[in-house]
């Protein structure tokens, strides 16, 4: 099997912070690979190393089977977290400029730009300065910029962050369309589990510079496998809650999180009355309770003890 990306033992240490540690990853060609993880998990560092923006302190990286170098990195198209477009330039100018960086120029560039603009729904805006575009349009333009040179690997860092749900869904459709046409490999990072679920064929959960779980959507969900109940009570000291709930009938596993506890079990809904009673007897008042089938979020929460959505705004890597 040909891998678009093969990372082996990548380590990147900043002054007093380990961004990546002995990190290994293989991304199959033509697949959509999602990187999920909280802030500081090392996603952006990994992307920067893949894009050639940083060098690892240790480890190797191969792109399409060859050691990463200038030549094969030119096969990568990247759309950073930010829109990464020049606001004063028109859509067309932005595309022509970024195309030129990859040696795409002249009529070919213009044709490609028109094509991308039309396909991404920016045709009517081709001569509009990008500062006047909506958030979604800017994202699409940023994506178009990354696609100007017909890359074999597309890296999208938080492609839909900050977009409203409708625009986000539209963006997903656009991405799917682009990928179906280009047959490129897509690596994306996201906070949105539903985005990963909607787009990614394979997902890696990252935390503290290492992969904590990797696999397809199903493979990951199987890590949780049962119903999950999230419970929040007052005063709600997590360790105390775990002590109370552990051993309760129907609860296979209790995990303390910073937001309460997560319980796993086969039929938690039926057992909830008994659990509530036990809590009440121990001075806890349940204020929030939800029972759901496991999602990626649940998997992540279970694996890392942290909610991805509440990981906060992603700051640029230093």
């Amino acid at each position: 099997m040909e891998y678009a990306i093969e990372a082996q033992g990548l380590t990147r240490i900043y002054q007093n912070k380990v961004a990546l540690y002995n990190f290994s990853l293989k991304v199959e060609r033509g697949k959509i690979f999602g990187l999920l993880g909280p802030n500081g998990a090392g996603k952006s560092t990994l992307i920067r190393i893949i894009a050639g923006l940083e060098k690892p302190d240790d480890g190797t990286l191969k792109i399409f089977g060859s050691a990463a170098d200038v030549k094969n990195r030119k096969r990568i198209g990247i759309a950073p977290q930010e829109n990464a477009i020049y606001p004063l330039l028109t859509c067309m100018e932005n595309l022509l400029y970024f195309g030129s960086l990859y040696g795409v120029g002249g009529k070919k560039a213009r044709t490609r730009a028109v094509y991308l603009l039309e396909n991404l729904g920016l045709g009517p805006k081709k001569d509009t300065p990008s500062e006047f575009l909506s958030g979604g349009m800017k994202r699409r333009l940023s994506l178009a910029c990354a696609l100007m040179h017909k890359p074999d690997i597309i890296i999208l860092d938080e492609p839909t962050t900050g977009l409203d749900p409708a625009t986000r869904i539209s963006m997903w459709a656009t991405l799917k369309q682009v990928l179906s046409e280009s047959k490129a490999t897509l690596i994306l990072t996201t906070h949105y589990m539903e985005e990963a679920e909607a787009l990614c064929e394979k997902i890696a959960f990252m935390n503290s510079g290492v992969i904590v779980a990797e696999g397809t959507l199903d493979e990951l969900k199987k890590l949780v496998g049962k119903e999950i109940a999230k419970l929040k009570s007052v005063p709600g000291e997590p360790k105390h809650l775990v002590e109370i709930i552990k051993g309760t009938k129907g609860v296979d596993n209790v995990t303390a999180t910073e937001h309460g506890v997560i319980m796993e079990g086969k039929d938690l809904g039926a057992e909830m009355a008994g659990i509530s009673r036990a809590l009440k007897d121990n001075g806890e008042t349940v204020v929030e309770l939800s029972i759901s089938k496991p999602s990626l979020e649940d998997v992540f929460l279970k694996l890392t003890g942290t909610k991805l959505r509440e990981a906060g705004k992603i700051e640029p890597d230093k």
Binding site: A51, G52, L53, K55, I76, P316, K318
Partner: protein, 597 residues
């Protein structure tokens, strides 16, 4: 504040500014005024005194004494290579000595507004000091001359006293001479004496003769007395005869009646006869009285003769005495002659004294003449030339142009420096944050190529700004003529180079900055020291040599020097352009090398 570099810059910036300013002003306050060119064509004590006076306050650049040193000096001042120049003309000292106020010209580059007043003040102070020294020297020489004159006059005073004494002595001698000369008619005297002597002898002979005559008269008188005696006897006898006749007549009448008419006639005849006889007797009486009288007179005459004779004897004796006196007189004349000789000797001495006095008068004349000459020499000088033997006229090469015109060549690079630094650094950092830079880096663009393209693109972006600034400088502030294409080209060339340099600096800053605030602060931290060291606020001449050298080498300083050379001096300096190109290239290379991949 979590950004370490920003925090570091915030802490470092004030300290850096403090260190730079302390480095600039770390030397004593006895600031130098910068290099001043001197073309001393006179090379005399006075000119050296002036030059040394200036040297105490300012560095001197000696332009030698060649005939073209003045031209070279003026060219260098006009070309901005020298802040000021002083030309001391040939004949400078001689003119001062002749009492002519010497006008020396200070050629001043008044575009160096921080330095030029100081240099002018230094020169004026040096001129004043030299004036004072020359004035003191002159007054001292006047004092010496006056002292000499006073000494001469003192000597003159002694000479006058001596002359006066001599004159008094001369006068005394002349008096003596006069006295002597008064009695000087010696020959006359001698003649008179001889004459007197002869007269005395003649007198004595005459007296002897007179005495003989008197003796003869006396003898005659004796004869005459005898005659008188005989006459008297005769007269007495006659008188007696007449008395007898009168008795006979009286007897003849006595018996006659004379009243009888016959007798009357008789009687009358008798009376007549008697009357006749009585008359005759009366005549005889008278004659007798006369004889008596004659005899008395004769006796008196004889007595007189005796007296005469005695007198003649006395006179004769006197003549002897006179002879003796004349003999004495001859002795006197001899004395007189001696006196005369003495007087002649005295006169000779007086002549000698007069010759000496005459000589002294020539000496006095010399002294007076010398004193007059010295006084004339002193007084011929105008008071102004004594008080100010030198006058400095300042030739400001830029005339009375507005102060702002001199600032513009520094302000334009300064403004452009900050604009270029801020624009390049913050824009590039913004690109970092905007993600475009990530995209560009990801495109595997050669980092040096990327840095160069960024520098060039920002430089091009700033060129309209430079043109606008140059237009404003030209149109509003008359920094240079709008129609002067050559200057325009040079100004724009310099502007483009400095923009290139500082854009490259800004790109370098941006590469190392994580945020716009860091980039902004870093630009300030770099820009402010460059400003302080550019010579705009604190002139190089006031800085310690090492700091001044460093300051001069700084890119902003090079840009300022280049702009000044173009706008003010119309003599573009290739060195500054090359320096800016070098700086810009180094910054670009450093920026490229600093890009992390």
């Amino acid at each position: 504040m979590r950004e370490r570099r920003t925090l570091l810059l915030l802490i470092a910036a004030p300290l850096l500014v403090l260190f730079i300013i302390s480095a600039i002003f770390n030397e004593s306050l006895a600031q130098k005024g910068g290099a001043m060119g001197v073309c001393d064509l006179d090379r005399t004590n006075a000119s050296t005194l002036l030059v040394n006076g200036i040297r105490n306050a300012s560095e001197i650049q000696d332009y030698g004494i060649g005939s073209d040193c003045g031209t070279k000096l003026i060219r260098d001042v006009n070309g901005g290579r020298l802040s000021a120049g002083l030309i001391i003309p040939n004949g400078f000292e001689q003119g001062i000595q002749m009492g002519e106020t010497q006008n020396i010209t200070l050629i001043l580059d008044n575009s160096r507004f921080q330095v030029s007043p100081t240099l002018e003040a230094f020169v004026k102070a040096a001129v004043q000091e030299t004036d004072q020294k020359i004035g003191e020297s002159f007054i001292l020489s006047v004092w010496q001359k006056l002292n000499g004159a006073s000494q001469d006059l003192g000597n003159l005073h002694g000479n006058i006293n001596e002359t006066r004494n001599r004159t008094a002595a001369m006068r005394a001698r002349l008096n003596l001479t006069s006295e002597s000369l008064k009695a000087l008619n010696i020959s006359g005297v001698r003649d008179d004496i001889n004459l007197a002597n002869n007269s005395t002898q003649e007198t004595r002979a005459t007296l002897s003769e007179a005495k003989d005559n008197l003796t003869q008269i006396e003898s005659n008188f004796a004869d005459y007395d005898q005659t008188l005696n005989e006459t008297e006897n005769d007269l007495v006898q006659i008188n007696d005869s007449l008395a007898n006749i009168s008795g006979y007549i009286a007897g003849m009448k006595a018996g006659v009646n004379c009243s009888d008419p016959v007798s009357i006639a008789y009687c009358l005849s008798l009376d007549q006869l008697d009357a006749k006889v009585k008359n005759a007797s009366q005549t005889v009486e008278i004659r007798l009285e006369k004889v008596h009288k004659a005899r008395a007179d004769l006796i008196a005459a004889n007595l007189t003769i005796q007296i005469f004779k005695a007198k003649i004897d006395a006179a004769q004796n006197s003549t002897y005495e006179a002879e003796a006196k004349i003999a004495d007189l001859n002795g006197f004349v001899d004395d007189l002659e001696r006196n005369r000789n003495q007087a002649i000797q005295n006169i000779d001495e007086v002549k000698a004294s007069l010759d000496e006095i005459d000589g002294n008068t020539y000496h006095l004349e010399d002294i007076i003449s010398s004193s007059q000459k010295q006084i004339a020499e002193v007084t011929s000088r105008s008071p102004a030339s004594v008080i100010s033997p030198m006058l400095v006229s300042t030739n400001r090469i830029f005339g009375q142009r507005p102060f702002f015109n001199f600032m513009l060549p520094s302000l334009l690079p300064l403004i452009m420096m900050f604009i270029a630094l801020f624009l390049a650094s913050t824009s590039l950092v913004r690109e970092k944050h905007g993600g475009t830079l990530t995209r560009i880096y990801a495109a595997q663009v050669n980092k040096f190529e990327f840095a160069a393209i960024k520098v060039i693109s920002y430089t091009i972006v700033l060129i309209p700004e430079a043109i606008l600034l140059a237009l404003v400088a030209s149109l509003l502030y008359n920094a240079f003529p709008i129609q002067d294409t050559n200057t325009w080209m040079m100004v724009m060339g310099t502007m483009v180079l400095l923009i290139f340099t500082f854009v490259a600096g800004g790109v370098l800053i941006a590469i190392h900055s994580d945020s716009e605030s860091t980039a902004f602060l870093a630009s300030l931290v770099i820009g402010l020291p460059l400003l302080f060291l550019s010579g705009l606020l604190f002139p190089f001449e006031f800085m310690p040599p090492v700091v001044a050298l460093l300051g001069t080498l700084m890119p902003l300083s090079q840009a300022v020097i280049g702009m000044q050379s173009v706008i003010l001096y119309q003599s573009p300096q290739m060195a500054t352009s090359l320096a800016l190109i070098l700086y810009g290239s180094i910054f670009t290379l450093l920026a490229g090398a600093s890009i992390r991949k």
